[in-house]
């Protein structure tokens, strides 16, 4: 006769194997039986090969950074400045707001090779330049969508419409959590994606895989704080009473869900102290806060929500949170690449560099994949009218899906690599295209998962993050 605890595990595991159709039905049962029941259900890693990364910190620059003003210099634009692009280039292309005949605008920024690897960055990234040798810059990213809502969905769920699970949810589903006291997938944001919570949705996966937003301020998780009138002592006694009564109900019904609920009340109780401690970044030493730009040279506090998110992301990684999604607002530079763009870079530059060096110093960079990028790139052509009012604006750039730049660091990617080539205008890809599906396939690969095997049966179809596409880009893997 099997004991009860194992019975629960069997049920969960069985559901998973059947539901997941991961092709791992033959994994030794004895191994599964050894696993503990955890808060998030599936804790058994579905690794198909050794993982290079355990965690992901995904820094999403909401709006879509301009590649030719950041990491993909295009000196040819100086020559073309003021004239339209060759017609054969723009023919049949989708644009959001500009016309195909819009004039080219050169980048106002100078570029320089940085570090030993000589990764080229615009002058705006003075801090990131100091960790250039840790990066793989991919200049040949491509997506299918030219609007923010659908572009964000595509970047995170591999599908331009609503309803699919996000990358983080797939990671949580495939790998489970390493920390029973915290969710596997945490979302931090200073502004936020326009598609709202759908971007960290669990779609058709179990809702326990959806991203849990840690918010700014006193209540990082909704409903975390005990009501004013309740003392800590009363809360303990109430939870004890609830669990005592639930224990009685379990004796009667023998329903394993009741046991799970008992453990969730205990966990909730612990989270009420562990989460506020976790988000209390002021407890970090001065030099760390400075590293992220959260203290100025004189030690005064600076307000930068993105920097705070980066530091918090590192703390979450230390606690075993699998996937941390950070959103940074303000990268939709339709109007003004002269002053707005430097401001956006200024908000993230030091924190990104600080995050990478901090992770490295703690020996966490190797197992943490850091990703920086937006949902698409921007046109070489200028946009100088407000799309809604028609008013004249400072020169900016429109959405562009044919190519854009992201970078990655740590977690098994090569150090100091620049990958992929775009044409002289920064309009299309010439060599080594990395489609968003390929990007997803590669990230899952780094997490030890075969993107073709991480599937979920929904409405009769085995869905994947990469749908029916995606190739692992082995060239960027160290």
């Amino acid at each position: 006769m099997m004991d009860y605890e194992k019975g629960i595990n069997l049920i969960k595991r069985r559901d998973f194997l059947k539901q997941g159709t991961l092709g791992i039905g033959s994994i030794a049962l004895s191994h599964l039986l050894e696993q503990d029941l955890s808060a998030s259900g599936i804790e058994h890693p579905v690794l198909q090969h050794p993982a290079r990364a355990k965690n992901v910190i995904f820094l999403h620059m909401v709006g879509g950074p301009s590649q030719m003003d950041t990491f993909d210099p295009k000196p040819a634009l100086d020559k073309w400045d003021g004239s339209p692009l060759p017609e054969e280039l723009t023919k049949g292309q989708k644009f959001a707001f500009v016309t195909p005949q819009a004039r080219v605008i050169k980048s106002p920024y100078s570029f320089e090779p940085r570090g030993e690897s000589g990764i080229v960055m615009s002058e705006l990234f003075s801090h990131l330049a100091t960790v250039a040798d840790e990066l793989t810059v991919i200049r040949s990213m491509k997506t299918n969508e030219i609007n923010h809502g659908s572009g964000e969905l595509f970047f995170h769920t591999g599908h331009g419409r609503l309803g699919r699970p996000s990358f983080g949810a797939w990671a949580s589903y495939g790998l489970g959590t390493e920390n029973k006291d915290l969710p596997a997938y945490v979302v931090l944001k200073d502004g936020g994606p326009v598609a709202g919570t759908s971007v960290w949705s669990s779609g058709f996966l179990s809702s326990r895989h959806q991203g849990v937003e840690f918010r700014k301020g006193q209540t990082p998780i909704h409903f975390l704080n005990t009501p004013d009138q309740t003392s800590k002592e009363e809360r303990r006694l109430v939870v004890d009473a609830i669990n005592g009564l639930n224990g009685q109900a379990f004796r009667h019904y023998q329903d394993p869900e009741i046991e799970t609920r008992i453990s969730q009340y205990e966990l909730a109780y612990r989270m009420q102290t562990s989460v506020p401690d976790l988000v209390d970044i002021d407890s970090e030493p001065e030099h760390v806060l400075k590293q992220y730009g959260l203290r100025n040279a004189e030690g005064g506090k600076t307000r930068n929500d993105f920097a705070r998110s980066c530091l918090l992301a590192r703390r979450l990684v230390e606690k075993g949170v699998r996937f941390i999604q950070v959103f940074a607002k303000g990268w939709d530079h339709h109007a003004d690449i002269y002053t707005d763009l430097p401001r956006s870079v200024g908000r993230v530059d030091q924190a990104c560099a600080g995050l990478i060096s901090d992770l490295k110093q703690r020996g966490l960079l190797d197992e943490t994949l850091v990703i920086w990028g937006g949902e698409f790139g921007r046109t070489p052509m200028v946009q100088e009218h407000n799309a809604g009012t028609g008013d004249l604006t400072e020169p900016g750039r429109d959405h562009h899906k044919e190519c854009f730049t992201i970078w990655m660091a740590g977690g098994g990617v090569k150090r100091g690599l620049t990958y992929g080539t775009t044409d002289e205008f920064g309009f299309g890809i010439v060599e080594n295209e990395v489609h968003v599906h390929d990007f997803h396939a590669t990230c899952l690969h780094l997490l030890g998962i075969d993107h073709e095997k991480l599937t979920f049966r929904h409405q009769g179809r085995d869905y994947r993050l990469t749908d029916v596409h995606g190739h692992v880009v082995h060239d960027i893997i160290a």
């Binding site: 019975g7 049920i11 092709g23 049962l29 808060a39 989708k94 959001a96 707001f97 030219i146 609007n147 923010h148 809502g149 659908s150 609503l162 309803g163 502004g191 936020g192 326009v194 598609a195 709202g196 919570t197 759908s198 809702s207 326990r208 849990v212 909704h222 409903f223 975390l224 309740t230 809360r235 006694l237 109430v238 009473a241 609830i242 009564l245 639930n246 009685q248 109900a249 019904y253 023998q254 329903d255 869900e257 799970t260 609920r261 008992i262 969730q264 009340y265 966990l267 909730a268 989270m271 009420q272 407000n386 809604g388 009012t389 959405h399 049966r457 929904h458 409405q459 009769g460 179809r461």
Partner: protein
């Protein structure tokens, strides 16, 4: 022997349904055993999709497989398929990707070929078949026909049904299933004490008539209909679709047969002389999320909307995933890409529903059909009265147009007093262009008001130029008046301007007059017809007559004034023509009417619909062959008499010949009551879906459903009157080990309530629940600032928290904003309603504990419940027993009582007790 052996292994290890089913007989059945193997491993390349087909044979067609020698019936040794699947050479072995077939699967294939390799059409595409009543051993147990099918399977699995649930538990279960809130203690004790054998059925009938029935059962339908109150995507603007939600609640409460329920939602607008209610029903298809963001192209938005409609129709009525056939022929089910676009063509007949909002590319707007709706019947009646009043006025105006009267008698004229200086401090409102002393005048004109104001310059105004006296008053609408009259007395002889404006607004209208021909230093009444006001050069435009805040009288001249004061008395706007008066009234009534109304989106087909083309690779910019409307060939035929539009489609879907719809519907209802469907993949009845655990039961339910005129209430009644339903949900640990998912229904259903029902139950328990049914969405308290995070219109970033009764409405009325849904409900697994959701998740997380313990909404419920308990008569123990019964209906055990008594003793707080009770697993669970 084989089957006994298998049975043992199963029970000890995997209790999955199909292996169990296999255990039933040694000869493999094509549907049960073989098709899942072929479909899952082979059809992708040797199946319906010609594009993907390899080696030019099909395994989904017997003859094709035989012609290719892949299968030789009766002769496993000659059948290639066995060589291919069992090859040791990884380059040869089939399937080429993924894991090889298991020994067990290969054995099944071999046995099947040996037995003649007979094919059967997919079970779900065959009409339901009425099976004979099974012979059961425990003949006293069944009370309903359906119990025989359940018991038969139970006995095969050597399981025994649980005894009947205790009255209190059973009644609570029934309340939660039928109306979604628990019974009161009085209800429970009355039920316990009632000796009538028909008492349960009497309760069933009563609850089925309660408005709570529709409120409970609508929620799952709204998941299917992806009903929400916002557009989704970027911007996520709000929309008015709650009338559709009310339609669903009302239709369920009225017991509308499911076929009619379907037809009205899919094609209410195409019925002869559709009622407004039938139009509102078609909101079903207008619920689709819509991408309004700047750069999306209108045809792209339309294609996405129509794709959603096709796949939702497939999921809701057919239990099929049609989406796959958008880009290519379905790989598993017999659905071609052409057939997909034939279905798409039904929806492509609709008028254009989205367009660019103006020339700018920034926004889009809805251009589809809308109908006017009112927040309640009372308002509707009020609006009808208003409409009547407007019609009467307009008729009179038309008459006046034809036969104009002269000046109107005083009786019908209307006056707006702007200034009579009887307000608090008349001097505060006055100002002037030079240093002046302002005071109340020492005399007033005969026929004027009681007070007048004097503006006196010191010293004497010997210089030329302007001298003005201005007076402010509360914003006044002068749009309907025909003249302004005022009294003036001055010692200045000059040209004057009488000027009207809004404070700080540079738009001004003026009326000019002079007093050269008037008696100076006496009161004079000036009449300024509105028609004679002009816009001075220095003004940027005429005043906005709807909001006037200031008048000014200004003297101007080339000469020295020789005077020093201006006195002003009563300034009155007057309407002196009956026509103007009535027109003003009509305008006011129209504003009132607009405020009462909103409009909701409904369907309409175009007079000349767009031609539908197959989209190559699903890309709307790559049209292929043109197609007309049509249905799936593998199902029942489309009656040629039916109109080739949505109405025809709807009628085809609810044709009693349809093998899928009745099964799909009864399966979902069964799942809502038992926690899982007879087909455990309610969203997929296709080849890839699970087989029914109780096929005969499913068919019996489907046939009875159609025979009972598609009555949902009758179906639910049949189920809840069964012995299967009424079993106790407690069971031994051994039994739960044997059948953890309750596949055999050998105990009563037990699972957590939905987000809405947790809210509803706890509101009901604490005595806060409002019983108001229907109406506009409500905004219960949620954490601050969440809506500010939505990138949307500025006016929709403030969450308009409701007040009064609307704070305590049932969860189904809570606003559902797709981009940022109500957080406490999200924690209990409400879907975001971005797509049709057939099956909700039922998670068990710490966030749920935090919500019930700390969400101010639930804290308030606990506080209120504590007050209620405190107010009861009796000892502390009596109160605890009663409060326990209020939450879970049954009596507490001694131990349970002790735990609560101890808590009360320690904390001396009924709040702690109330909060504990509201947080019990059993409180938020149907047991």
């Amino acid at each position: 022997m084989y089957s006994i052996l298998r049975c043992f292994t199963c029970l000890a290890l995997f209790l999955s349904s199909f292996i169990e089913a296999f255990a039933k007989s040694a000869a493999p059945s094509f549907s049960r055993d073989i098709r899942p193997i072929l479909s899952g491993n082979c059809f992708k390349c040797h199946g319906p999709d010609p594009e993907a087909r390899e080696a030019e044979f099909r395994l989904d067609r017997r003859q094709s497989a035989i012609d290719a020698d892949v299968i030789v019936p009766g002769n496993p040794a000659e059948s290639w398929i066995l060589d291919m699947v069992s090859s040791d050479d990884p380059d040869m072995r089939m399937p080429p990707q993924g894991d090889p077939l298991s020994e067990e699967e290969i054995d099944k294939l071999r046995a099947w070929i040996e037995n003649g390799a007979e094919y059967q059409a997919h079970w779900a595409y065959q009409k339901p078949d009425l099976a004979e009543q099974p012979n059961v051993r425990r003949r006293s147990w069944p009370t309903s026909e359906l119990d025989y099918f359940v018991l038969d399977r139970m006995e095969e699995a050597k399981l025994k049904p649980e005894s009947k649930a205790k009255s209190a538990v059973l009644l609570r279960r029934l309340y939660l299933d039928l109306i979604g809130i628990p019974p009161t203690v009085e209800d429970v004790t009355a039920f316990e004490d009632d000796p009538s054998p028909k008492k349960f059925e009497a309760h069933v009938d009563r609850l089925l008539r309660s408005p709570g029935f529709g409120e409970k059962w609508a929620a799952s339908w709204l998941d299917l209909a992806r009903y929400a109150d916002s557009n989704g995507y970027q911007h996520d603007d709000m929309r008015t679709m709650w009338p559709y939600r009310d339609w669903v609640i009302n239709a369920l409460n009225d017991g509308m047969p499911f076929d009619q329920f379907s037809i009205e939602q899919l094609a209410g607008d195409l019925l002869p002389n559709p009622t407004k209610s039938q139009l509102i029903a078609t909101g079903f298809n207008r619920n689709v999320p819509t991408n309004f963001s700047g750069g999306t192209k209108v045809p792209e938005v339309r294609a996405n909307i129509l794709h959603d409609r096709v796949s939702t129709t497939g999921a809701v009525w057919l239990g099929l995933t049609l989406e796959c056939a958008q880009c290519h022929d379905h790989k598993f089910d017999d659905i071609s890409q052409k057939e997909y676009y034939q279905l798409y063509a039904f929806y492509n007949k609709s008028i254009q529903e989205v367009d660019q909002d103006g020339d700018g590319m920034f926004r889009k707007l809805f251009t589809g059909r809308e109908v006017t709706v009112y927040p309640s019947d009372a308002v509707r009646q009020l609006a009808q009265q208003l409409k009547h009043d407007i019609a009467v006025e307009e008729e009179i105006i038309a008459e006046l147009d034809e036969f104009p009267k002269g000046d109107t008698p005083e009786a019908v004229s209307e006056k707006v007093v702007l200034l009579d200086f009887e307000g608090s401090d008349p001097l505060k409102s006055s100002s002037s262009t030079r240093p002046t002393i302002n005071s109340l005048a020492d005399n007033v004109p005969i026929g004027g008001g009681n007070f007048a104001v004097s503006v006196r310059a010191e010293p004497v105004l010997e210089t030329k130029g302007f001298f003005g006296a201005g007076f402010s008053f509360p914003t006044t609408d002068l749009s309907g008046i025909t003249e302004i009259t005022f009294w003036i007395k001055t010692d200045i002889r000059s040209e004057f301007n009488f000027q009207v404006q809004k404070n700080w607004d540079r738009r001004v209208s003026i009326f000019g007059f002079s007093n050269f021909h008037l008696e100076p230093e006496t009161w004079t009444k000036i009449v300024a017809p509105l028609a004679e006001f002009t816009v001075p050069q220095w003004s940027i435009g005429p005043v906005d007559w709807t909001s006037v805040q200031k008048i000014q009288i200004t003297a101007y001249g080339e000469e020295s004034y020789d005077g020093k004061y201006i006195m002003v008395d009563n300034v009155v706007g007057a309407t002196s023509s009956e026509q103007a008066l009535r027109e003003k009234r009509v305008a006011q009534l129209r504003v009132q009417l607009t405020e009462m109304q909103s409009s909701t989106m409904v369907m309409q087909d175009a007079m000349e619909p767009t031609q539908t083309h197959i989209m190559m690779r699903g890309d709307y910019t790559a049209p292929g062959d043109s197609v007309g409307t049509g249905v799936l060939e593998s199902l029942h035929p489309l009656d040629p008499e039916l109109p080739p539009n949505r109405l025809g489609l709807a009628q085809w879907l609810v044709d009693p010949e349809n093998p899928l719809t009745p099964r799909v519907v009864v399966n979902r209802i069964w799942a809502e009551i038992f926690g899982r469907g007879i087909v455990t993949t309610p969203e997929d009845f296709g080849m890839q879906g699970e087989l029914p655990t109780h096929p005969e039961l499913l068919d019996w339910l489907a046939i009875s459903f159609v025979e009972n005129n598609w009555s949902i209430k009758e179906l639910i009644k049949t189920i809840v009157l069964s012995s299967t339903y009424q079993q106790s949900s407690s069971a031994s640990a051994v039994k739960i080990m044997k059948d953890p998912q309750n596949n055999y229904y050998s105990r009563g259903p037990r699972f957590r309530l939905s987000a809405e029902l947790i809210r509803d139950s706890l509101l009901a328990i604490s005595g806060l629940l409002s019983d108001k049914v229907g109406g506009p969405i409500v905004y219960p308290v949620q954490p601050d600032g969440i809506w500010k995070e939505i990138f949307g219109p500025v006016d929709e970033t403030d969450y308009p928290t409701s007040s009064g009764e609307d704070l305590y409405r049932r969860g189904i009325y809570t606003v559902w904003r797709r981009g940022n849904p109500y957080p406490s409900m999200v924690n209990f697994d409400t879907p975001d309603r971005n797509v049709c959701t057939v099956k909700r998740d039922r998670s068990n997380t710490p966030l749920q504990a935090l919500t019930l313990l700390n969400d101010p909404v639930y804290v308030e419920m606990a506080e209120r419940f504590a007050k209620v308990i405190e107010g009861w008569d009796g000892s502390d123990q009596d109160k605890i027993v009663r409060s326990f019964r209020t939450v879970v209906s049954r009596q507490p055990s001694r131990r349970e009582l002790n735990i609560l008594m101890q808590l009360l003793e320690q904390q001396q707080s009924w709040f702690a007790v109330a909060q504990t009770l509201l947080n019990l697993d059993e409180t938020i669970t149907k047991s």
